[in-house]
């Protein structure tokens, strides 16, 4: 006797009403119910999102006719070839180096905060650390950039501090350096870097904190019992165990920096980052194929990055 027959006759009578009948119907066909449950989201994401992504990818294989400025809808790799022109390659190298530096710096700045928050902070301090990470994480993105515009402005607080300390000469000397310097902090790569660091820092702190919290304290006791100095304990025990957290955080800081185009537009030089290049190409330049080809760059870089991160076990720390 089949299961259906059992429930139908021996245990319960059929339910009454349309809803009851429907309920029984789905009970007998769980696969159909699952299908109906996922169908709306699947349709939405499949059509709206993946459809758009594929359309974008297709367009990167088209090209822009240099003379007429019309998009030629024929398969070609010419647009990808344009990525390797000196000016475009510059943009890619600039963005990737910025992402790498921001990631490295945020790991260094985040570690002490995450470590103290996870291992030492109690009571009132724990609350302060929690708010210190959560408030900047959830505060509006644009407002945070705005705050840095206030800080970095020529008449702003940072210049004022340097003035009060009689260190204006130091700031001027720093700003006269090539590449990282500029007319003022708000139009230099240093300014862009500071804002990136500030905005993505919480994404680095949280996974490190989670991974440090999971380090068993008896391992640390064991290390010091066996005669390790605090430094040795840190490098041989804590750091390797916290590494997956750092890698997990770096996924966020790296990927977010790669794709951002608002921050370098507001604080920074006129030289473009990948995100800005995409925006300019699809907007004023009207070169959607090149814009599409540019978006493929961060996708490939992040794909490689995620693959490496997965091998280092970063996904267990998320």
């Amino acid at each position: 006797m089949s299961v259906e027959a059992l429930t139908a006759s021996a245990i319960l009578p059929n339910r009454r009403g349309t809803l009851g009948a429907l309920s029984d119907y789905f009970w007998r066909r769980p696969k159909l119910l699952v299908f109906l449950l996922v169908a709306p989201a699947l349709l939405w994401l499949g059509i709206v999102y993946v459809g758009s992504l594929i359309a974008l990818l297709l367009q990167s294989f088209y090209s822009l006719d240099d003379f007429s400025g019309v998009i030629v809808e024929e398969f070609t790799l010419k647009t990808y070839g344009e990525l390797f022109k000196a000016q475009n390659l510059d943009i890619i190298v600039r963005t990737v180096s910025m992402a790498a530096i921001v990631t490295l710096a945020s790991a260094i700045v985040a570690f002490p905060i995450a470590y103290v928050a996870a291992r030492y902070a109690r009571g009132k301090w724990k609350a302060l650390f929690y708010l210190g990470v959560m408030l900047p994480l959830w505060a509006s993105y644009l407002v945070k950039i705005y705050a840095w515009k206030l800080i970095l402005a020529k008449e702003g607080i940072l210049n004022w501090v340097f003035e009060q300390l009689h260190l204006t000469w130091l700031l001027d000397a720093y700003l006269s350096l090539p590449i990282i310097g500029g007319n003022s902090l708000s139009v230099s790569f240093t300014g862009t870097f500071l804002v990136f660091l500030y905005i993505w820092l919480p994404y680095m702190i949280l996974p490190i904190q989670a991974s440090v919290e999971r380090v068993p304290t008896n391992l640390l006791d064991a290390a010091s019992d066996l005669g390790a100095t605090p430094m040795q304990t840190f490098w041989k025990v804590i750091f390797p165990l916290a590494l997956p957290g750092i890698v997990a955080g770096s996924i966020f800081t790296f990927s977010l920096t790669l794709g951002d185009y608002i921050i370098p537009q507001i604080v920074g030089t006129s030289r473009l980052f990948i995100g800005q290049a995409v925006y300019v190409q699809q907007g004023t330049a009207g070169n959607i194929p090149l814009a599409a080809a540019f978006t493929v760059v961060p996708i490939i870089i992040m794909g490689l990055y995620l693959w490496m991160a997965k091998r280092m076990g970063a996904f267990d720390a998320l």
């Binding site: 989201a41 758009s52 359309a55 609350a127 210190g132 408030l135 705050a147 800080i151 402005a153």
Partner: protein
């Protein structure tokens, strides 16, 4: 049973400096909202005044942008709640072919940089000749809001024991009753949290919106315009402060509610 050793001084100092770095910029926003200075970002502020609060209150463009943002966030959150919960129920309730693919698909809009989502949608709209409107903004927002609801709902459903559902059905409840009386009360707080996060995410979103909005200005777009071409700086200062207060109240509320218990407010990633 953990003994709490003392942190060394350099470590404490580095952590404290980090905290100042994190919180000081937000504090500045509050101070600047009351500055009397009109033309520059002068520090220290020459004087303090409440005047700009009144000026900002009477600006129709601010109100219009705010209304649009609230409408978009409300509708996107509603769509995300329905789609995300259904999807979570299916994924956690059974194993089927393509289950992993669905989880990946849901997470994709947030894993890829916002600019890719934005330009993909924009080029799709132009290919299909859909004019930009209120609904194109909602379309973009709902896409990345689904994941937040989904993540919260899946995590909770995983912890809801299946035996309760089986017990309900053994006692003669039909699917609908089981959902109404067993599943929903269990996941209600997770849905509330997910919905709040989705709302906040949509309310604050700027990158995707720049690609999917036509003439309409959401509050972040208004703010962006002011950042690039400042018109009346004191008004921007006030709006910035109000936005901070509005986003921070739920965080503080969540903190006080979850204090003592386990902290499940997380849900990071934008």
């Amino acid at each position: 049973m953990r003994n709490t050793p003392r942190a060394s001084w350099p470590l404490k100092l580095a952590a404290a400096a980090g905290l100042v770095f994190m919180l000081a910029p937000l504090a500045l926003i509050f101070l600047y909202a009351f500055s009397t200075e009109e033309k520059t970002y002068q520090w220290p502020p020459p004087g303090l005044t409440l005047e700009w609060l009144a000026v900002a209150w009477q600006r129709p463009d601010v109100w219009k942008a705010l209304t649009l943002s609230v409408q978009v966030a409300t509708i996107s959150t509603a769509i995300a709640l329905v789609l995300g919960t259904l999807c979570a129920a299916a994924v956690s309730g059974s194993r089927f072919f393509g289950r992993e693919t669905i989880s990946l698909l849901v997470i994709l809009p947030i894993a890829l940089p916002g600019i890719i989502t934005g330009i993909a949608l924009r080029s799709a709209f132009s290919l299909m000749e859909i004019p930009f409107s209120f609904w194109t903004i909602v379309l973009g927002h709902a896409t990345f809001c689904i994941v937040v609801v989904y993540n919260n709902a899946v995590a909770r459903l995983r912890r809801t024991s299946g035996s309760m559902i089986e017990a309900a059905m053994d006692l003669g409840a039909d699917k609908l009753q089981t959902f109404r009386h067993i599943i929903l009360p269990n996941i209600a707080t997770a849905l509330l949290a997910g919905g709040m996060l989705a709302f906040a995410l949509s309310f604050d979103e700027v990158i995707v919106t720049t690609f999917t909005a036509g003439q309409q200005q959401t509050l972040p777009l208004w703010m962006l315009e002011e950042l690039i071409r400042p018109r009346q700086r004191p008004v921007t200062n006030v709006v910035a402060m109000v936005v901070v207060v509005v986003t921070l109240l739920p965080i503080l509320a969540a903190f006080y509610l979850s204090r003592g218990g386990e902290q499940s407010v997380a849900g990071m990633g934008k």
